[in-house]
Symmetry: C2
Subunit: 327 residues, 2 copies
């Protein structure tokens, strides 16, 4: 701002006034400052633009930076923002998502796309009263924010029916921590609910077995434990492809295959189709989740206030990691 | 700010003055405003903090959001920033990295970690005169910014010697676009140079074959073309694990194995050790690249101005994707 003031031959306060579009700037003053800004190639910083009202930046809260399912959503968001004049910044973070969201709000982004699987609706409603907000992979009803999700209930039931159709009767479910499935309406909670319900409908309550992992490497160790147990299941439904790959790691290391333990994931990330992995999984159109989230957010930034809920297309992709049980 | 002003019973201008730490604020006024801020749980936004001098945020330019090698560097950076009071925001972007870097500078981050493989040293020196800057995976000398890289020359030579030792004489190199290897001192340029030099040293100039890809799926199609060619190589050195996995996809789909086409990657991402992929690769301690980058950047933010260059540890990890050639 000092450089611009010097170039324009005015005070720094005058430059600030022009940038802030403040009252009491003469047309001549405005012209001098704007010409100086152009000559110097000065980009009014977001600090200044934020004072005027917009940073033309959208924030994306992404709690697991190495989860390829989330990368797929992010790729869709990056595609969706192209040509809109807005830019995307991502805050990685804590499972609650709150610190990451705080960081983005502090940077004065114009709106937020968040996954934040553990954030409560009450906290989100409060946040959404201050900034345009779209939640990804949530099914809970909302007043001040939009949600976009895959059909998690239907997807999980497709998985379970595929396994029952193959002849499996003892099916385990591998998911995240208790906290990660505690939030009603969250994707993982809905998938877990569908697993439990399908087991009950098929008279297999006694074989319900829910394994929980804190990290991806935990999924490997949990599977090793499972394979060593007295009466292991013949199939396992993992709540993310990333977990399923670690299950397959343990299965393959023992020289076992899909007739010993059939494995299903969720998300159809790029590696799922690799012949070395060949994972049966649900494709919930992850990129479309990201694209829709950005579109909904821009609608909100442009004035829409009524909440919208959208769902992406869904299909089961059957590959080599599932087969009829040997036993 | 209006809420704080109302709570404190002062003008909005007074609140602004306290936040900006401006001249002429009485101790009583400061106390009233600060108590109001505390009562309301108001976080002075970065717009305000940027005026005071710091956003306590570090920006990370990451041009390929789905490349697991870069995710590994990012994980290291996220670990390195823990407990420092700083936060990380990531801008995904264009291969030049310039738009992503602009976005971060506009948001008033306190410093930048960048990969930006196509940015020229001149452009980077200019950027670094305005903001603390650390470049990852660059070997070019610098005045105003730091660099941290793996030993790319040594790593690529380890790969080539391993393949020559196995008996391969016709070895192709798969890398990115011309632009991506044009920048002297860039990791991919250094790996390509080592490949060319080792082929020449071993009298195999006539078998030099450099394949280039614009996208990961290109790597698959390039390999299909290679396998269909009249006199295909017996080994392929890919400049990233992510490319190598797509090469393996094409090899496995044809029912071929490492004696038909041995494949080596670079980075030792998590999937490389999966029994379904079992990729020979170079581990350049990607997480340590990210951790060191953050440490160097915080040193710069705290006043260091002399440039530093650091290198991470390196090792070749031999797995099932390489074997002596069948022919």
């Amino acid at each position: 701002m000092m450089d611009v003031a010097r170039e324009a031959g005015v005070s720094r306060a005058a430059v600030s006034k022009v940038i802030r579009d403040a009252y009491g700037v003469s047309p001549d003053m405005r012209k001098r400052v704007e010409s100086a800004i152009e000559r110097l190639g000065y980009r009014p910083s977001v600090a200044a633009r934020a004072i005027r009202g917009s940073s033309f930046t959208i924030g994306f809260e992404l709690h697991e930076i190495e989860n390829p399912a989330l990368s797929r959503i992010l790729r869709g968001a990056a595609e969706g923002i192209e040509g809109t004049g807005y830019r995307l910044v991502i805050a990685p973070g804590d499972p609650e998502g709150q610190h990451a969201i705080d960081a983005l709000v502090d940077l004065r982004v114009d709106g937020l796309v968040a996954i934040a699987p553990r954030a409560t609706p009450a906290w989100l409603e409060n946040l959404a009263s201050r900034i345009p907000l779209v939640l990804v992979s949530r099914h809970d009803p909302s007043v001040n924010y939009d949600t976009v999700a895959g059909g998690d209930d239907e997807g999980a039931r497709l998985v379970m029916r595929h396994l029952f159709d193959l002849g499996h009767r003892s099916i385990a479910h591998l998911t995240r921590s208790e906290e990660a499935t505690a939030q009603e309406g969250g994707a993982l909670a809905v998938r877990l609910g569908a697993y439990l319900d399908e087991m009950a409908r098929n008279g297999r309550e006694s074989r319900i077995q829910v394994l929980r992992t804190l990290s991806t490497s935990d999924a490997y160790h949990a599977t090793v434990g499972l394979l060593d147990s007295a009466d292991p299941p013949t199939a396992l439904f993992a709540s993310h492809d990333d977990l399923a790959f670690e299950v397959l790691r343990a299965v393959r290391e023992r020289g076992l295959d899909a007739s010993d333990l059939s494995v299903v994931g969720y998300d159809n990330v790029r590696f799922a189709s690799h012949p070395g992995l060949s994972l049966t999984t649900v494709d919930q159109s992850g990129d479309d989740l990201g694209r829709r989230a950005v579109r909904l957010l821009l609608e909100r930034i442009n004035g829409r206030t009524a909440a919208k809920h959208e769902e992406t297309e869904l299909r089961l992709v059957v590959r080599g990691s599932t087969a009829p049980p040997r036993r």
